[in-house]
Point group: C2
Chain length 258, copies 2
């Protein structure tokens, strides 16, 4: 299997970096190829702006959906974006590893999605060219690839339980797991979280390292979260869940098949 | 009232910018003071890194919680961070306006929170100095301030309804509304969303402009989302919601009082 590891932490001596190295070692031991996008080490530009689209006239009003589609179709996106798309196309699976900051990704990783997942590549992809249905939520350019999220978290585990104050972890991460990965067709695996990351004992570290290694070693076999597909019949023409499914319920968990 | 408007769109001729100007005009007409943080225009640095903490020795391992607390307490954070904290301290209310990209904030705005909301200022704030309870979720350094979120969204409104495929909007925005704004003590108002933002007719624009103006004009009076306070008795010692509240339910809506 070919695995891309996208990593977002500024400190090479951090817990996050140590866990990444455990994960990469496990991949090597299992005979998998891997490549790493270490966003801080690469000096990744976090912010979508006009420089991403060198094919656009500098005086034009920048409409990002349109500029990104033209850039993608014309092969004129900036080089750093093209390099990441090439890595994604190469990969069978992608690991996204980051510390949970304000209940989301660090800006540098959010900006990786904002910049790399352009129109025509990750959204606005249609069946049979421009005439067919929009392929999203389970279908699309990146379908067939697996995605594992590994997060280090300051708060303790109970605070991310279904009734914990911070919100259930896969609900807090719904914009990434469902709204980004599944949207583009990738199969999102249940996230791996290392809690209490600011105060791990040596023993805790051993447990965390083994959990990351185990998740990486089972990357090809773990059941993805069973999000519903957009075009499989569960949603009506307005893309609202049909009444007989998860009947009488609402909330993010209705989008997971029973 | 003193209002800070934090704005995150790269294009001065965008729909977002036009709606911002409508909102600012409404504030002026109502006799409120305002200041604007136009993040793209300011060239805001999106990424937390060592440069944020010029008081730290360049050879030290960077532990962001510790470095940010020392920087905040010692007044040695980088100048751009200090300037934003000063604006926040000045404001009675803050408007956060952005296009919804991948179901979250653009990286430049996420990075505003990552960098400005440092330890000791926005989290890790304790009652009576270091000995007391941690003040979060309804209490903290920023309590008493109101926060309005204004988002422009590509998808149509039904897709963000309680059973819509994208997830209910206030659930998708939970990491911001609850996990960031309410966490720091700010009262999060119900978000204002302009749907179908890529294809608004002139008439649609008029409706959207009036909605933004109305939300701004009622900023002082609108009922905030009734999130539960951490320290008000609804959560147990592990910060899990007590069984008799929202009994038998789970999901993000249990954190809103009935």
């Amino acid at each position: 299997m070919k695995v891309l590891w996208v990593f977002a932490h500024p400190e090479p001596a951090s817990l996050s970096a140590a866990l990444r190295d455990e994960g990469l070692a496990a991949l090597t031991e299992d005979g998998h190829d891997h490549r790493v996008s270490d966003l801080y080490a690469m000096g990744w530009k976090a912010v979508v702006d006009r420089e991403d689209f060198p094919g656009e006239a500098p005086t034009d009003r920048l409409v990002i959906t349109q500029a990104s589609r033209r850039g993608y179709q014309g092969g004129t996106l900036s080089e750093d974006i093209l390099a990441e798309q090439e890595k994604l196309d190469w990969a069978d699976a992608v690991v996204f590893q980051f510390p949970l900051w304000w209940y989301g990704m660090p800006a540098i990783l959010k900006g990786w999605f904002d910049r790399v997942f352009v129109k025509g590549y990750a959204y606005g992809v249609r069946e049979n060219g421009s005439s067919g249905r929009t392929l999203r939520y389970g279908q699309g350019r990146l379908s067939g690839k697996r995605a594992l999220t590994v997060v280090t978290v300051g708060g303790p585990e109970p605070t991310f339980e279904p009734r914990g104050i911070n919100g259930q972890l896969d609900h807090v991460l719904f914009p990434l797991l469902h709204g980004t990965l599944w949207y583009t067709g990738m199969s999102a695996l249940p996230p791996v979280a290392v809690h209490g990351a600011d105060r791990l004992s040596e023993e805790d570290y051993g447990v965390a390292a083994r959990r990351v290694r185990a998740a990486v070693s089972t990357l090809a076999d773990t059941d993805p979260i069973a999000y519903r597909t957009q075009n499989g019949g569960d949603y009506d023409d307005r893309l609202v869940l049909r009444p007989h499914l998860a009947a009488g319920r609402s909330g993010l968990s209705v989008h997971v098949a029973d």
